[in-house]
């Protein structure tokens, strides 16, 4: 298959998560929904179920407004909205990590609004570096396992987890390599890049790895396209087709990202030596450079200009998901760090309820003038 055919396959999956879910259910598989961020999908996979990412959808919110005030991020409101409207029917459970205030509220609301889908919170220790953090993380993984055993009517087997960890590490590696290869090929559009990351949420990792590996080979076989303006993108979610169309029509080439739904999710592998559950704990302890994780040295702030330089980006674009506290706190410091590093930066604000992106287009067009 050519690169474009493989991209088209990713796009189809990214745009039709329900079809994917129906396909797995028809195969007799169980599906567990995984909300942002860092849900222990390896555990779900090891128990024979398919983890499927839920990040809301681009749509108007109606029913969820009975549960949330207006100033909560549209991603978590969208998860509850879709749950109320039976879009997730058939799922065996939802795992929701509690890594920001909006997710904490969303979990409690999901319980009340969607009682048909068992709600499994994953409480991560933010103070995760010391042994007490590891111990607490493991205790909460065990709670998730116990809840999954009930929801899936199956038993957890740690030996199988070792296998799943390998599958997920392979996938991480493939996703990292894809991002590197896409950085060398300006013909890879923002939309295509987004589709590859988004489709990963709705497939088994083994299936997705196979596609991504083929894609990497197919892109490498191509002559790199005409140079476009290399940029670095930071944010939570950048999957909106309207937004990606603006990136593409403005001639921007994403050479690397710091996006929660994209590269942030694939930076850290679980170690493979030792008890598998401990390896998973270690993975979380080693995860960082993210606004939603406690970051005493604010390494996330320095990562953005460092990576932007490393990948030859001419500028940094912050795609701020409206009402995201963690991102809104990091932004002023990241901007300052970019300024100090001499890297131009700009912020655009998005929301999953947005219909018109003209303001974002105007800001980006003005930014391109600065870059050129």
């Amino acid at each position: 298959m050519t690169a474009n055919e493989l991209f088209a396959k990713c796009a189809e999956i990214a745009q039709n998560p329900r079809a994917q879910m129906d396909k797995y259910l028809a195969q007799g598989k169980k599906v567990v929904l995984t909300a942002p961020y860092y849900a222990p999908e390896e555990i779900v996979d090891s128990m024979g179920a398919v983890p499927m990412g839920v990040w809301g959808a681009d749509m108007e919110l109606n029913d969820s407004k009975k549960f949330f005030p207006t100033f909560i991020c549209s991603i978590v409101q969208g998860i509850v909205e879709l749950g109320i409207n039976h879009v997730y029917d058939g799922a065996s459970a939802i795992i929701m990590p509690m890594l920001c205030d909006s997710l904490k509220g969303a979990g409690q609301n999901f319980k009340a609004a969607v009682p048909s889908i068992p709600f499994i919170p994953m409480t991560y220790p933010q103070n995760r570096f010391a042994d007490f953090g590891a111990k607490y993380c493991k205790a909460n993984y065990l709670t998730v396992i116990s809840e999954l055993e009930k929801a899936l009517a199956t038993e957890f087997d740690e030996a199988k987890l070792a296998g799943s960890i390998k599958v997920f590490n392979d996938h991480n590696q493939a996703m990292r390599e894809f991002a590197e290869v896409a950085a060398m090929h300006p013909e890879v559009t923002a939309q295509q890049r987004s589709d590859v990351f988004k489709s990963a949420m709705f497939m088994t990792k083994a299936e997705h790895t196979a596609i991504v590996r083929q894609l990497i080979d197919a892109i490498k076989a191509q002559e790199p396209g005409k140079g476009r303006i290399p940029v670095y993108v930071s944010g939570i979610l950048t999957d909106s087709p309207e937004l990606n169309a603006i990136f593409d029509s403005c001639g921007l080439h994403i050479v690397m990202d710091d996006v929660a739904a994209q590269s942030r999710a694939y930076r850290t592998d679980a170690p493979v030596e030792g008890a598998p559950l401990d390896c998973l704990v270690k993975k979380f302890q080693n995860t960082g450079n993210d606004s939603v994780l406690y970051d005493p040295l604010k390494k996330h702030v320095d990562l953005v200009p460092d990576q932007a330089k490393q990948y030859g980006a001419k500028g940094v674009i912050f795609v701020l998901t409206k009402f995201c506290d963690p991102e809104e706190f990091d932004y002023p410091l990241i901007k300052k760090a970019c300024d100090a590093a001499g890297i131009p930066s700009v912020q655009i604000e998005i929301d999953r309820q947005m219909v018109r992106y003209e303001q974002a287009r105007t800001i980006l067009e003005a930014f391109i003038d600065v870059l050129s």
């Binding site: 509220g105 409480t123 103070n127 005493p296 809104e328 990091d330 410091l333």
Partner: protein, 411 residues
């Protein structure tokens, strides 16, 4: 033109609770300022961080949330917020954080001065926003950050594993502060501090519970003033004494049939959420003009920590209002409503607080049903005056009053 005659306020009786509590609250800043002048290390501390740690170590700390509330109540909330916004902080962020980050930058406020910190003590049993705010302080001021992570208890009670996790962090912070400041932990002093904190808390919780009497012996807005001591000084011996004085005064009011609530108490409500500090007078008058007394709020009780062991203390810190799940949060409030004969619930949908407001619509709906009381919400903010509309507040409170009136007629 007639000359304006300013009415002189009578001096406050130095034996009164008002005087004692006011002095303790003011002294908290003065003591920290003096400590800084002596060359001692001073910290900034989250309001529900275990106060037992700095108090036992003899470290002076100030409370940025308390300072931000003071600045907002004295009218400078917007100015400070705009300073932070000019640096790129979104106006959707917590206004306490914006006020404090602005203060950290300009290092002055005539409304509420505060010494600059040498370290910050952070705890997220109020919200995760605290981490991000304090991380930024630590980076911008180049000072160490100490945290106690208290996650949301997703079970009805905190689990043993959570208590063990928080306990380990408690001692980790103690050891870190010993190393940084050279101060030494003293078990005997810790015991005394715990006793002080419990004594103040017992008196405070008893005082707030006196609202069960009809009429209530106090105006609920008094709670908002007096709670500053519980935030900033509950580990100090004098806090217990002052709180006991307050309790005695309110008990005296009950005996005498008097109250600090002026006028007839026609309706009794629970107020939900943090006070609208920039509009304290407006929000208070809106109730008083309709004979409504805010007799209880979980916000006030949040700062009462009465325990009998170390584990119990940790458990209480794991059970602050924003650290518990919907069911526990709801049940605590239902108890307050029932114990205090509440007839209506007024919810402050606080633009600053995503944690407090995140599941508030569902929780208040459940409380309303369980207590068979009307629930009305208004939009506001704890420190940014731009997020409050007096007209909306008036309309909502009027609506609440009318429903309560109608309910009385039916009953």
């Amino acid at each position: 033109m007639a000359e304006e005659v300013k009415k002189q306020r009578p001096p406050v009786d130095p034996n009164s609770a008002k005087y004692k509590l006011g002095k303790i609250a003011a002294d908290a800043y003065a003591l920290a300022t003096e400590a800084k002048a002596r060359g001692e290390m001073v910290g900034w501390c989250a309001s529900n961080f275990p106060v037992e740690i700095p108090e036992t170590l003899g470290l002076s700390v100030c409370y940025p949330e308390n300072q931000a509330a003071g600045i907002a109540a004295r009218g400078a909330g917007q100015t400070m917020c705009e300073i932070a916004e000019a640096d790129g902080y979104s106006n959707d962020l917590c206004a306490y954080a914006r006020v404090n980050l602005a203060f950290a930058k300009i290092r002055e406020s005539k409304e509420q001065p505060m010494p600059m910190p040498d370290f910050v003590l952070c705890c997220n049993n109020i919200c995760d926003c605290m981490f991000k705010w304090y991380e930024n302080l630590a980076r911008e001021l180049n000072i160490p950050i100490f945290i106690i992570d208290i996650p949301l208890s997703t079970t009805y009670e905190p689990t043993n594993e959570e208590i063990e996790y928080v306990s380990a962090q408690f001692w980790d912070v103690v050891h870190g502060l010993e190393k940084l400041t050279g101060k030494k932990w003293d078990d005997e002093k810790f015991k005394q501090v715990m006793e002080n904190s419990c004594r103040a808390s017992r008196a405070w919780l008893k005082a707030t519970s006196l609202a069960c009497h009809k009429p209530s012996p106090f105006n609920g807005f008094d709670l908002l003033n007096h709670m500053a001591v519980m935030v900033t000084a509950r580990g100090k011996a004098e806090a217990g004494e002052a709180m006991e004085t307050l309790c005695r005064e309110w008990e005296e009011n009950i005996k005498n049939g008097t109250s600090t609530y002026r006028g007839e108490e026609k309706h009794r409500i629970m107020f939900e959420g943090i006070a609208c500090w920039p509009y304290l007078r407006v929000t208070s008058s809106g109730l008083k003009n309709r004979g409504i007394n805010m007799v209880t709020t979980i916000y006030a009780d949040a700062f009462g920590f009465d325990y009998h062991s170390f584990d119990e203390m940790i458990k209480l810190y794991c059970m602050t209002p924003n650290a518990i799940n919907l069911e526990q949060s709801r049940d605590k409030r239902i108890r307050l409503c029932k114990d205090n004969h509440v007839e209506g619930l007024l919810v402050h949908t606080n633009r600053s607080c995503k944690m407090w407001s995140g599941f508030m619509p569902e929780m208040s709906r459940q409380i309303g049903e369980a207590c068979n009381i009307p629930v009305v919400a208004f939009d506001g903010d704890q420190a940014d005056p731009r997020n409050f509309s007096e007209a909306q507040y008036e309309t909502r409170v009027q609506g609440l009053a009318e429903i309560m009136e109608a309910n009385k007629e039916v009953r």
